[in-house]
């Protein structure tokens, strides 16, 4: 039976793929529906205050999700992002205590992120090691380095100018000023992924390394720069995190890597590479943020929030599979009905 169905499976792909292609549209629609529902049901939801808190909450995930999207589309993964952010945060604390200027601290923090990413890149692209193993290793390594750097201390006395800038809003809209920066990064990654030759190559790379080589994609170099990208942006998220909470600690942003990967996958990026869009991922980040914020307004505990995110993710992965399975089975039955009378 399996051998008879297998050629049919190829024929079954288009419909399933078309469904996935329109996934972005579905994601945006679900996001809008969720926002409308929340506004209607929760009296305190539709306000500038909500916009402010919701957006400022999602910024770290939104930022890191951008380079992560590219990494996953290219068929790799980076689980060390939250540790990189934590290491950056720890470094900021120590540097601030040693009396460095804020500008120096930010620059050094970004350089630290760049080095973290470059090490991942070297191990994955240079030595050809699997990124899952490498970044689980550096997840522990960078978090350990953060602990070594700052110990159990927390540095909280960052200058008010810096911390209030991070949480400041654009006029009465409630939109955080830093959101402009975040949007620029989103835009930059969207352009790189969807409008440049480099981005075109990433899809080929994620689908098949061989196919990418045949069109001249420099596989190792490409992967290296992707990891450098995640490192730098993770550092940026770490800087934001530190200033927003005005607290530099070694365990800042811990566990964030899974929230990022969950959002990216919910956004329709294939964990096997070769497929995904920035629009889908941004919608997913905002959807998770909205649901979480809405539930939090209703005083639902954080444990339940994690369950909701997990459930959303599983539904997003399982849903299309079930649809495909049903379609295949139906087609298979039709085929057998067609074949059985003729086969002698």
């Amino acid at each position: 039976m399996s051998t008879i169905v297998s050629p049919e499976k190829k024929a079954a792909r288009p419909r399933w793929q078309n469904a996935l292609l329109s996934r972005d549209a579905v994601m945006v629609a679900i996001l809008i529906a969720t926002i409308i529902t929340a506004s209607a049901m929760l009296p305190r939801f539709a306000s500038p205050l909500t916009v402010g808190f919701l957006l400022i909450d999602v910024i770290p995930v939104l930022l890191i999700a951008m380079p992560m999207t590219l990494v996953i589309i290219a068929g790799e993964i980076d689980l060390s992002v939250a540790s990189t952010a934590g290491l950056t945060s720890a470094l900021m604390g120590v540097l601030w205590q040693s009396g460095q200027s804020m500008v120096t601290i930010v620059v050094l923090g970004l350089i630290a992120g760049l080095l973290c990413g470059a090490l991942n890149g070297l191990l994955v692209a240079g030595l050809g090691l699997p990124s899952l193993a490498v970044t689980i290793g550096t997840l522990a390594l960078y978090r350990g380095l953060a602990l070594v750097t700052i110990g159990d201390d927390a540095v909280a006395d960052f200058p008010v100018e810096a911390t209030s800038f991070v949480t400041s809003k654009i006029g009465a809209t409630g939109i955080p000023v830093v959101m402009i920066g975040a949007l620029l990064i989103v835009l930059a990654y969207a352009v790189v992924l969807h409008m440049t030759p480099f981005g075109r190559g990433l899809f080929a790379l994620g689908f098949s390394t061989e196919a990418a080589k045949f069109v001249g994609v420099k596989v190792d170099r490409t992967k290296f720069w992707l990891f450098v990208g995640t490192g730098v942006v993770s550092a940026l998220a770490g800087i934001f995190w530190t200033l927003r909470y005005s607290s530099a600690r070694s365990d800042n942003a811990s566990g964030l890597e899974l929230a990022v990967v969950a959002a990216v996958l919910l956004g329709g990026v294939s964990i096997f590479g070769g497929r995904g869009t920035i629009l889908g991922v941004v919608s997913a980040v905002l959807l998770i943020g909205t649901v979480n914020y809405g539930l939090r307004l209703e005083r639902v505990s954080d444990v339940v929030l994690i369950i909701v995110t997990g459930a959303l993710l599983i539904i997003s992965v399982v849903g299309p599979r079930i649809a495909e399975g049903v379609a295949t089975r139906w087609r298979g039955r039709r085929l057998r009905a067609r074949v059985s009378p003729t086969s002698s």
Binding site: M1, S2, T3, I4, P7, K10, R13, P14, Q17, N18, L21, V191, M195, T196, P197, R200, G201, F203, A204, F207, S208, E210, A211, K213, F214, V215, G216, V217, K218, G274, R275, S343, S344
Partner: protein
């Protein structure tokens, strides 16, 4: 040497008649027939693509035939999976067995059916004793305690054979078992095969080496284009006769190349060597010329092409295009210099199946497409449309995923993608594999047309009529070397087959 087997025909142990197996639009086997008797060694031969492997997979239970009359030991057989085939007493020894490297030889033999003691634990002592007994029966010296990792392919095959015997196999199918074996190992394998034959096992032996076939087998069955041709008593036929039957073909299936003026050398490959894969390859392809690279699967044709294009590294030699050296291991540099490569595996190498027709068609020119670093969707579509229209790709839209197209149209998208780079050399590996007959001739016309425009073409093909019909010159490879270069006027099927299969020492340098 086998006269006692000819006198009174032994009972038939396996009979597969009029088998049909198609994959989508491609018919791999249209009329496959094989009859195997107890205690005989029976060769199944044919060119690449004649359908031998599909027949093996039908016997192994990997593929289920669309239509067939299939009997094993007089009973109707219909295998749903490999387990059914094994249960019916059929064992297949592949060219490269896949043992579990971290288990011992004995554990590999009895995997999944280990003898157990009273406590339902594996009885290691008995397992070793049984394994040792099997090796004694086969007359080979192998240590059952040894870890399988690091064993030679020949030893691994023997372990597979021991496993087959322990499962009381009545039929042993050997799929090109000698391809990776040394002379002494071949002799040992043959001794074992003869011993099993004398015990009444029916052995189906698939090989390209006539020398071996004539030394070992009792009967020979020839297949061509997925269909049964004939069965001979080995002692009553000759190599010339079976080669003729393997390649014989009606004229209407030939694909003539239009004559084109042949110009200056475009590609020059000198002394190209990759240790253990191919050595000292010299090739010249001129503008307007089609050079066919022929040979058996595994002769190193694709590997040479990959090295020329820069996908793989090479150890020695040089590649020049229009007189300019091409840097090694840099496909982008090759593309920039004007080399295009249509690879053999469309689904994994030629296309990104999830992407649209337009994206695929422009993937190789994505850098030229960008203006100020950015690709505009409309420009991309224009370029894609231009080339897919020229090649008459049938698609519902430019944004349809390329996976929705038929095999022939997918191949045209691959061609479009490479023609968009406006190459001076086109390397094309198995240009018509897995595409329907109509599109096939369209692709051939296209290749001929490209040569007419002065493009140099290096065509790798396992289909003899394609090579003979299209190529101005045929370069035949065998075991990693160029064994012969045959001009169009001398290129007859027998000559190419002989150059591709003949034993090394028989060939003039």
């Amino acid at each position: 040497m086998t006269s006692n087997h000819e006198a009174a025909p032994a009972p038939v142990v396996l009979e597969l008649r009029n088998a049909v197996k198609s994959f989508g639009a491609v018919v791999a086997v249209s009329d496959g027939t094989i009859e195997l008797r107890e205690g005989e060694i029976h060769a199944l031969i044919g060119e690449n693509g004649a359908g031998k492997s599909t027949m093996v997979k039908i016997l192994a239970g990997v593929h289920r035939p669309d239509v067939a009359t299939f009997q094993v030991a007089g009973e109707d057989a219909s295998f749903r999976n490999v387990g059914d085939s094994k249960a019916a007493g059929i064992s297949v020894i592949y060219q490269e067995p896949t043992l579990f490297p971290d288990l011992t030889v004995a554990e590999n033999i009895f995997i999944g059916r280990q003898p157990v003691n009273r406590l339902r634990l594996i009885d290691r002592r008995r397992m070793r004793r049984d394994a040792a007994a099997l090796f004694a029966e086969l007359g080979v010296d192998l240590d059952p305690h040894r870890i399988a990792d690091g064993l030679s392919i020949a030893d691994q095959q023997l372990i597979e054979i021991a496993k087959a015997i322990s499962m009381d196999a009545r039929v042993l199918v050997m799929d090109e078992p000698t391809a990776a074996l040394s002379g002494a190992e071949v002799d040992r394998l043959f001794t074992v095969a003869r011993r099993l034959r004398d015990q009444g096992v029916g052995i189906l032996f698939i090989s390209h080496r006539f020398e071996e076939i004539f030394a070992l087998t009792d009967r020979i069955t020839v297949m061509r284009d997925g269909a049964y041709v004939s069965t001979h008593q080995t002692a009553e036929t000759t190599e010339a006769e079976v080669v003729r039957e393997m390649v014989g073909r009606s004229v209407d299936q030939l694909f003539p190349k239009e004559p084109a003026p042949i110009g200056e050398p475009v590609l020059e490959v000198t002394g190209l060597t990759r240790r253990g894969i191919f050595s000292d390859i010299n090739l010249v392809v001129r503008s307007g010329e089609i050079v066919g690279l022929a040979g058996l699967v595994g002769a190193g044709r694709t590997e040479v092409a990959r090295a020329v294009f820069g996908i793989d590294r090479y150890d020695d030699g040089s590649v020049t295009l229009n007189g300019t050296p091409i840097p090694p291991h840099d496909p982008q540099a090759s593309i920039d210099a004007g080399i295009a490569f249509v690879p053999e595996d469309r689904r994994k190498q030629g296309l990104v199946m999830d992407l649209s027709v337009a994206r695929n068609a422009t993937l190789a020119v994505r850098r030229e497409l960008a203006r100020m670093g950015l690709i505009s969707a409309s420009h991309e579509r224009e370029v894609a449309e231009e080339w897919t229209d020229r090649l008459q790709v049938k698609t519902s839209s430019q944004s349809a995923p390329v996976s929705t197209l038929s095999g022939g149209n997918q191949q045209k998208v691959v061609l479009a993608k490479w023609l968009a780079t406006e190459p001076s050399l086109l390397i094309i590996d198995e240009p018509t594999r897995g595409i329907d007959v109509g599109t096939k001739s369209e692709v051939h016309r296209l290749i001929s047309d490209l040569a007419g425009r002065g493009i140099a073409i290096l065509m790798i093909s396992s289909e003899l009529p394609e090579v003979l019909g299209m190529a101005d010159r045929v370069v035949v490879m065998r075991e990693g070397r160029v064994s012969e270069v045959i001009d169009r006027s001398d290129a007859v099927p027998e000559a190419v087959m002989r150059a591709a299969t003949a034993a090394r020492e028989e060939v003039p340098a």
